[in-house]
Structures are given as C-alpha cells and as structure tokens.
C-alpha cells in the first residue's frame, strides 16, 4: 500500500483538485440533471414521474415555439457565419502578412465583448422609434419604418440580423490557418491546366477545407442552440407573443421564475440531445472523409 502510494501518490496530488471539482460541479450535475428531467421537481422537491415532462413539452405550444425559433435562428445564423468566415478568410489569404494580421484582429475585436453588451447596442439599433438606426438606414432607401423588436413578426428577424451582421472572427482565424497549410502543388497543377482564381477556389480550396467547415458547423450550431442573452436583452426575454423565445430563455424562466425545475431540466435534456445529434453527424461526416 505504501509502495503504491509512494509510486502513484504524486499523480493523484496533481490530478485531484481538478478532478474533484469536475465531479462535484460537472459530472454529478449532469447525472442529476438527467434525473431531474424525470421528476416533478418544484421548489419543494419532487417525485419520479417517468417521461411525463417530455410529454408535456411535446404538447406545449410555447416550447414548440421556442424549439422552432431556436432551430430557425440556428439555421440562418450558422449558414451565414460559416459562409462569411470562408469568404473573408479566402479574401484575406492572398494579401501580405501584415494585412492578414490586421484583418484577423479587426474581425476578432468585436467578439471579445460580451453578448449582453452587444445585445444592448443592437436593441437600440433596432428600436421602433424614428431615431432607431436600422429604421434611419432603411429609410434612406425608402423602406420602413419597421417596428422591429416591438412587433411579433419582426422581432426574431431583428435578433437574427444582429447575429448575422457580425463577421465571425474566430471562424476567419481558423479558416485562414487552414488555407495557409493547404498543399501548394495542387494549385500549381490546376494553373498548368489553365484554371482561373474562382475555379481554383471552388474546386480545390473549398473541398480541402471540409474538416474545418465541419468543425465550425458543429461549434457554431451548438453555440447558436444556446442563444439566450440576445433574446433576454433585445426583447425582454421572449418578445411580443413569445415571438423570440428560445429554448435557453424558456429553461431560465421555467426554472428560475416559475420554479418548475423538473420541466426545465427536461428542456435542457432536449437541448443536450440536439447537441449530441449534431456531434454525431460531424463524426460520421469526418469518418467518411478522404485523406489528402
């Protein structure tokens, strides 16, 4: 025993602080979160009720609205983010090293700020008043004024626009690094065959970037699934007629405003399953990938 302790003791000393915290504040909570989703948990405790919470969710129009909004937001925002990151990184790459450094920093700077702060500004930009900036800008080309966050039809559009109108700097950096490490020979071969810049980009660069594209799709999708601060700030936590309610917003209000912890945990499990599904799809797609 003492021999084993002497041999391995230090290893456990090194691992234990992190691992103990991980067990108490991540591992056990995950297990308890799954358990809570099967309980009628309220402020004063609860009992096992099987999948009743999930049945409630399936029939609840507000949850369906939250699920639909989350999926719509995710689809539009992720498609825009990955496309923008790819195009911007491709435009940056042929420039000189100093320009590349400048643009990477330029596009990453807006992202160091918190979602709360950004949402406060966007809330004002999409203000329904005439001094709202979005209305002024669109007014100059004869459109509007729109109610934006004051309208149940336009509130979600405003939230989505606020996300789309920021260049995804992290994606730009990753794509940029990936493009830099692509094999030059392929391009030289294509040039010999007389391929133009766009043909080279579309037929060589884009397919070779598939691993980065898949990684970004998954990361941005899982992040978008968790959209909360924008909705909480821009539309007072859900907008008119729950127009902008999302899953995380609903988890927050269900648990911490209405004390229905079991039901909220079931929503979190739905979110968890969605994240796993996306990760599995990525894993499959990567496995079928051809090595280059």
């Amino acid at each position: 025993m003492t021999a084993a302790l002497r041999r391995y003791g230090w290893s456990y000393v090194f691992v234990l602080p992190t691992f103990a915290l991980f067990v108490v504040f991540t591992l056990l909570p995950v297990v308890q979160g799954l358990a809570l989703s099967l309980q009628n948990a309220r402020v004063t405790g609860g009992e096992f009720i099987g999948i009743a919470n999930f049945v409630t969710l399936a029939e609840d129009p507000v949850f369906r609205q939250a699920l639909g909004n989350t999926i719509l937001y995710t689809t539009v925002v992720v498609a825009a983010q990955v496309t923008l990151a790819l195009v911007v990184a491709s435009l940056i790459q042929p420039l000189g090293a100093r320009s590349r450094v400048f643009y990477r920093a330029l596009f990453y700077l807006p992202l160091v700020n918190s979602a709360i702060l950004v949402a406060i500004v966007w809330r004002w930009i999409f203000n329904a008043n005439p001094f709202g900036l979005a209305n002024t800008a669109l007014g100059t080309i004869g459109l509007g004024p729109f109610l934006w966050i004051g309208s149940s039809d336009q509130a979600l559009i405003a939230v989505i626009l606020s996300a789309v109108l920021t260049i995804p700097g992290g994606g730009v950096v990753l794509y940029s690094a990936a493009i830099g490490s692509l094999p030059r020979e392929l391009y030289e071969a294509a040039e010999v065959e007389g391929a133009g810049p766009f043909a080279k980009w579309w037929h060589i660069t884009v397919p070779l970037l598939k691993p980065t594209t898949l990684y970004l799709l998954v990361v941005y999708t899982i992040l978008a699934f968790q959209v909360f601060e924008r909705v909480y700030i821009m539309t007072n936590g859900g907008g008119p007629n729950n127009a902008t309610i999302t899953i995380v917003q609903l988890i927050y209000s269900t648990a911490f405003q209405f004390g229905r912890y079991g039901l909220a945990s079931a929503m979190a499990v739905v979110l968890f399953v969605m994240a796993i599904a996306v990760a599995v799809v990525q894993f499959r797609a990567l496995r079928s990938d051809v090595e280059y």
Binding site: L95, F131, L174
Partner: protein, 273 residues
C-alpha cells in the same frame, strides 16, 4: 496592373465588412460621449458634433458600476488563477505520468464535453443551495473551476515537451513537485498565457450563472449589473451605452495587449464562442 490596384477592391470589401462588424462598438462609444439631446435626435448622427463626459459622471454617481467592475475582476481573476494552477497540474499528470485510473478519469472528462452548460445549471444551483453558497462569491467561483477546456489545452501542450528533461531532473534529485514547478510550469508559459486569456475573457463575459446564483446587486459582476441597468434605464440610452462602454473597455484593452495570444488561442483551442 500593379498588385496594389489589383488588391484594392479586396481591401474595400474587407474594410466595409470590418466597418459593419465594428459599428455597434463605435455606436456604443459615440453615444456614451454625446449630450442627451443628440442621443434621441432624428435622424441619428453618425459623426459627433459635440462631446461630453456628462454620461460618465451620471453613471459613476448613480450606479454601483465601479463595484460591479471590481467584483468582475475578483471573480474572473480568482477563477483564472486557479485554472492556471490546477489545469497545468492535471495536464502534466495526464500527459506525462502513469497511474491507475488515468484512462477512466480522462474518458469521464471527455464524455461531458458536449453537454451544454444549461443541463448542469439547475443541479449546480441545487448543490450551491445545499452548501449554503447561493448569493456568495464562492458560489460563483467554484462552478467556474470545473470546466475542462484547460485540462485539454495543458495536456496537449505538455505532451509536446521532451520527457528526457523530466528524467534528467529526477536523476539530479528533484522532487516530483520540483519537476512540475521548475520544469513543466516555465516551459508551459505559452499555453498558460492562452489559457489565462481565454478563461479571463470567458468569466468576464459570463452571464447566466451569476444571474441565477446572485441576488444581492452589490455582488453582481458587471454583465449582470448591465442587464439590470437595461431594465432600470430602459429609455435612457446615454446612460445604458455608457455603462456598456465602461464594461467593454477593459476587455478591449486586454485584446490589444494580448492580440497574439487571442489568435493563437483560437488555433489551439478552437472557437469558444
């Protein structure tokens, strides 16, 4: 055609994209230094005509923003310090040492990676309630020490360090702690810098956990404080934007000081949101 004129359209497109992307930030700072009568002007003015610090005076006099900033520095700072210590220790053990249970422990950590934070939010709230830590600083800090990104980052980096160096130190009579302290830690500085910046940024910007755990506005970190200002000064945009500007400045300063580490961090650790 010279390369400059060939590249000019590309620069124009990229700069335009940059302007759109940075515009909210510009608008934020512009509004914070504009007199109230210009803030609600129709049409809004994108170039300032008159500058003032009145909004800042009002903000510092009527809100606990300084207290919130101090809270945030303390919370994010303590979490970052502990992550640097604990993650480098664990990263070293997982990268370079052999011990029973190592693979099982690492597998358990990996298996929780895709779990969204909202799954653990409610159980962590219950655990903190049981421990009597709701509405306390330790209640905000402890769960922040449990995320596993740093363990990966440090393990990946320490794996690349030469193992011979550790053997040589042991032959020279260094204790296990000295091997970690004198060799692993100094050689891991690039990875530690990335970890420090990512962790600090993450907890500087954290919102939903402190929102749920803290009740006393005097204990709020700045993001939660800003959200309450949003409720209080719903139409006082000058005040709101100034609060947001004050919260933005420290992170922007950190970015300019450690740009290289930020970009390096994305390459090593991926996009963390």
């Amino acid at each position: 055609m010279s390369s400059i004129s060939r590249r000019l359209p590309v620069h124009v497109v990229l700069l335009l994209a940059g302007v759109v992307s940075l515009f909210p930030l510009y608008w934020l700072f512009l509004t914070s230094v504009s007199p109230t009568q210009y803030v609600v002007r129709v049409p809004p003015e994108v170039v300032p005509r008159e500058l003032t610090v009145a909004n800042y005076q009002r903000l510092f006099e009527t809100t606990p923003i300084v207290r919130w900033l101090v809270n945030t520095v303390v919370i994010a700072g303590v979490i970052t310090a502990f992550h640097l210590l604990f993650d480098s220790m664990a990263g070293y053990a997982f990268a370079k040492r052999r011990f029973p249970g190592k693979d099982a422990m690492f597998w358990l950590i990996v298996s929780t990676l895709t779990v969204p934070a909202q799954v653990t939010l409610i159980p962590v709230f219950f655990i903190l309630r049981t421990l009597g830590l709701l509405d306390t600083y330790p209640g905000v800090i402890l769960p922040g020490l449990a995320d596993v990104f740093g363990i990966f980052l440090m393990k990946q980096y320490i794996q690349t360090l030469p193992t011979d160096l550790l053997h040589a130190a042991r032959v020279d009579g260094a204790s296990e702690w000295q091997v970690y302290r004198r060799i692993i830690l100094p050689l891991s500085r690039p990875a530690l810098a990335v970890l420090a910046i990512f962790t600090f940024q993450r907890y500087w910007n954290a919102f939903i956990f402190p929102l749920v755990i803290l009740r006393d506005p005097a204990k709020y970190p700045v993001q939660v404080g800003l959200a309450t200002l949003q409720g209080e000064f719903n139409t006082d945009y000058g005040m709101l934007m100034t609060g947001a500007a004050v919260a933005a400045l420290p992170m922007i300063a950190v970015f300019f000081a450690f740009q290289r580490q930020f970009i390096e961090g994305i390459r090593i650790g991926g996009v963390k949101g």
